[in-house]
């Protein structure tokens, strides 16, 4: 955990959960696992306040707890689950792309609440859909189907259930059922409960949306009480990872090759263990069937595509076996390494220039080289090459190995071999990404703070205008209200909007780099 990472976490916590959560979070990050009383005491917070903060963080899967062997409970902040907050927009977008608007809202609400019961989630989403949809009512049946589909494709998982302990003695922490395999199924009891409630509702008559909320506030009425659901971050990460691989193939070969790869990934995505470096083998016929018909790929073309993919110098796709018309696997680790390399290369190319990039790539291809050899291979004049090499060395993109010919390590009798350590560079860049992300968010906050008065005013004016419209006032009155914002103010508002948009867009792009680097480092750790 670096300062940059902690800074970023603290900012995320502050932005989404307020200053107290930030205080607690940073304290936990800096001190590791801590019991409740220590947190409250060291931060001079009220015990109840601390408790509430921890509840919130736990609700959002950020805080974990465990029993210390001395018998007290310690709380721990999971930094990955804090940083994953930056990826939420991407999760929501993925859900929308995969399953449409309903799924988008489901994921959005679920992310918003952290953990929630199925019935409550379905109600909220149905309500929101009906609010936005002009005309046709969206049936809650449809929403329920979408939810079940998301659970089946493992994008949503059930939170581990609390098992009631038989001994009767009060325990320090609740124990959870450890049956991992059924987290991706909707229990029939829950389904029935939700359905029966629906029926009951419809019997009750068309209750209004406003009233519905009131009934929800009383927890006892929920039929599926105690069964909570949450987003499976891991699954979304895998989905995003697969997208990166597919895009890379798309750029490298063409769209249809990318579809082939997508088919292979899809076929093995649900039965995959995260810790293996390759996907499960998929047979030729399965791929053929999984390919969308409108692509017009016949068996001959598919054969050629698979051959191209297997022969490709990136070596993403391997032929595992000849049985079943050929079994194909995707080497995820290699794929991630290649993609990560491409990102590192991109950084070098953009930051230093193409000549530097040539040296960097040369070192990646040839592993260990002496300075002289670098100049010669890259065909760059010695003086320039030296300059470039040392600058990259200074910025830690290139590392050096000393191979002494004599035991005294005298420079004149030592070989200095330059090389690129990819995981080292990736780690360094990840740090830089965190810092850059922090900078961007800070700047965004700064811009909003600078123009707070103006933004507030705009909000007020819009609210008044909206209420006037609702009450049926004539347009002239509305125009009058809207003219309270002067043209110069309007220009300024447009500027602020432009700036925040730009910053937010950059944050999303930056997050992509962070994602690639993080995933690469995960796979790098595996072996």
């Amino acid at each position: 955990m670096s300062t940059n990472e902690i800074n970023l976490c603290s900012f995320i916590l502050k932005e989404y959960h307020g200053p107290v959560a930030e205080k607690v979070g940073v304290y936990l990050l800096k001190n590791g696992s801590m019991p409740l009383r220590m947190i409250a005491q060291d931060l001079s917070l009220k015990l109840s306040q601390t408790k509430k903060t921890l509840y919130t963080l736990m609700q959002h899967n950020m805080v974990d707890f465990e029993l210390h062997k001395r018998g007290f409970v310690e709380y721990r902040l999971d930094i990955e689950n804090v940083l994953v907050r930056l990826r939420f927009p991407r999760f929501i977008y993925s859900a929308k792309m995969l399953y449409g608007d309903t799924a988008e809202l489901l994921v959005e609400e679920l992310l918003h609440h952290g953990q929630i019961e199925m019935s409550r989630l379905l109600d909220k989403v149905t309500e929101r859909l009906n609010e936005s949809a002009e005309g046709g009512e969206v049936s809650s049946e449809n929403v329920r189907e979408q939810f079940v589909a998301l659970v089946h494709t493992q994008f949503i998982r059930r939170c581990l259930a609390v098992t009631t302990h038989t001994t009767g003695q009060p325990q320090a922490i609740p124990s959870f059922s450890t049956e991992e395999q059924d987290v991706h199924t909707v229990p029939t009891s829950v389904l029935n409960a939700v359905d029966s409630r629906k029926r009951k509702r419809s019997v009750d008559g068309s209750e209004q949306a406003t009233k519905k909320q009131r009934t929800d506030t009383s927890e006892e009425q929920l039929p599926d009480k105690g069964v909570f659901w949450q987003i499976d971050y891991q699954r979304f990460n895998h989905y995003l990872r697969d997208q990166h691989i597919i895009n890379a193939i798309g750029e490298r070969v063409d769209k249809r090759a990318a579809e082939t790869v997508r088919a292979i990934l899809r076929l093995s995505e649900l039965s995959m263990d995260f810790r293996v470096p390759t996907t499960n083998p998929v047979s030729y016929h399965e791929i053929m069937q999984a390919l969308p018909k409108e692509l017009g790929v016949n068996s001959e073309t598919l054969d050629q595509y698979l051959k191209i993919l297997v022969d490709d110098s990136m070596e993403f796709i391997l032929k595992a076996d000849d049985s079943g018309g050929g079994m194909y696997v995707i080497h995820l680790k290699r794929a991630l390494t290649t993609i990560c390399k491409a990102h590192l290369e991109s950084v070098v190319r953009e930051r230093f220039g193409s000549k530097y990039f040539r040296i960097f790539k040369l070192l990646m291809l040839k592993k260990q080289l002496e300075q002289k050899q670098i100049e010669e291979f890259a065909m760059i004049p010695a003086k320039e090459a030296k300059d470039m090499l040392y600058r990259m060395f200074g910025e830690q993109f290139v590392t050096i190995t000393e191979v002494p010919r004599t035991p005294d390590h005298a420079p004149s009798r030592t070989f200095f071999l330059f090389s690129v350590n990819i995981s080292y560079v990736a780690r360094m860049l990840l740090e830089q990404c965190y810092k850059a992300m922090f900078n961007l968010t800070l700047r965004r906050e700064h811009e909003t703070k600078e123009n707070k008065r103006l933004l507030d005013k705009q909000q007020r004016v819009e609210a008044i205008a909206a209420s006037l419209e609702q009450s049926g006032a004539d347009p002239s009155q509305r125009d009058e209200v809207e003219e309270m914002i002067t043209p110069s103010e309007r220009a300024q508002l447009a500027r602020v909007k432009h700036i925040t948009n730009k910053l937010e867009q950059s944050e999303l792009q930056l997050e992509e780099t962070v994602f690639v680097l993080q995933t690469y480092l995960q796979y790098d750790k595996l072996s």
Binding site: S346, F438, H498, K502
Partner: protein
Amino acid sequence: MTIDRGGGEAQALWVDLGAGLKLALGIIQLCQDIPKGITDQVIQNDMPQFDAQQRVMAINRLLSTGRIDLLKSGNQLIYRLKNAEAASKVKGAGSHEKLVYQIIEEAGNKGIWIRDIRYKCNLLLTEVNKILKNLESKKLIKAVKSVSLRSWMMDRNANAAENVLVDLDQELEHIRGFICGCRCFDDGTCCQQFMDWEIVDTPNECKGDNSQTEGLRLKNPLSCSPGSSHPMTNSGSICSTGEESTHLLLYLQNHHPQASTSTNSVCLTRSMNSADINCPEQSRHIRSRTSPLLQQSAHHVKWLLPLAHQKMTKEAASKKKVYMLFNVEPDRSVTGGAWYSDQDFESEFVEVLNQQCFKFLEQKATTAREAKTNPMAQKNAAYASSSDICKYISELGISKVNLSVEDIEMILDTLIYDGKVERSIVAGGGGDAGGQMKLYRATPHITPPTGLMRTPCGVCPVFHECHAGGIISPTNCVYMKEWLEY
């Protein structure tokens, strides 16, 4: 030495001179008849009227005037006529100048380094410098700056290793020559000479390692490079000439039979090899006396020879001035080939070729993509062989120099390092001698510019000094301001 032929002294001298002249002319005639060279036996057979003394005198005179060469074949001495042309060119020059000229001539179009000249002729540096300047002003020789590319060009050639070995062999030759020439070899005098040597123990400067390295050093501080305490340098320089290495060998054998440290083994190896190859009486003598030592250091040879090679390559790699005859066109390895003009690397030329090659490949890839054939055919159509590219480049006429396929392959290699092109090798596909065809294909980048580089922070020069609330901070960042206004 007096030759008594009876009669008056003056007359005797005259007769002697006349006879000597006659003999000398006879020898030259013989040499001209047999260009391969003649032995003493041939002279004796041809002109039996002269005795050994007279032959020695005549040959000595011819040698001193530079008319004939004394060579050695097996264990026989051979006399051969010296190149008349060379002799005429350096007419009027001193014998030293002739010697240097010959050495340079031998080096051919590869040229020879001043240190090697000195090393071969055993003259003082100042003298060699003077002679070289003299010869240069007479336009007999020229100095050529060798380029740094040299060692690499060697590597690329199939006989790269051979070249290095030739260099090494030349040195061995030298040592060998010395041992042959070492006419009077007497243990007594040797030991006398070796009294100047001492064995020194040099503590290792390496931390945590208290072992000591045995080294050799001259007692005389003048011939020992001051300041450097490491045995490698000292013994290295000391043993650089054949004479000393032989002495050293003997000395080691006499005084320090266990000495087998890495520091002196290089020269041991050399002298051992020379003794091994040549086996004249003296070296055989050395060998018989030193055989235990040789065996002992035999296992060092294995890893020391590569080291010696490396040293050679390094020397070849550094930019240095070499001398060659004035009318000789320098070798490609000296000038660096097509990428050098006046010993300067033409980076612009390389850049232009790099771009043109890429343009060619990219065009090929685009036409292949637009052909809308099946994917396999598309991929194959994007490939171009190195000879095709070479033809294209020469047809473009951007290069004044004739570029070979290897030159183009070097350019294409840089494109591979640029990440724009990939290579695949097809065995037996082309008309190349190696039965290998190198195919190249333009490939696109697999990712767009990464997110980090699309923010100002990615290229910020003061990124590491930037902190929230600092003098440089994201809230007052000028780069970010400009970027946001854009």
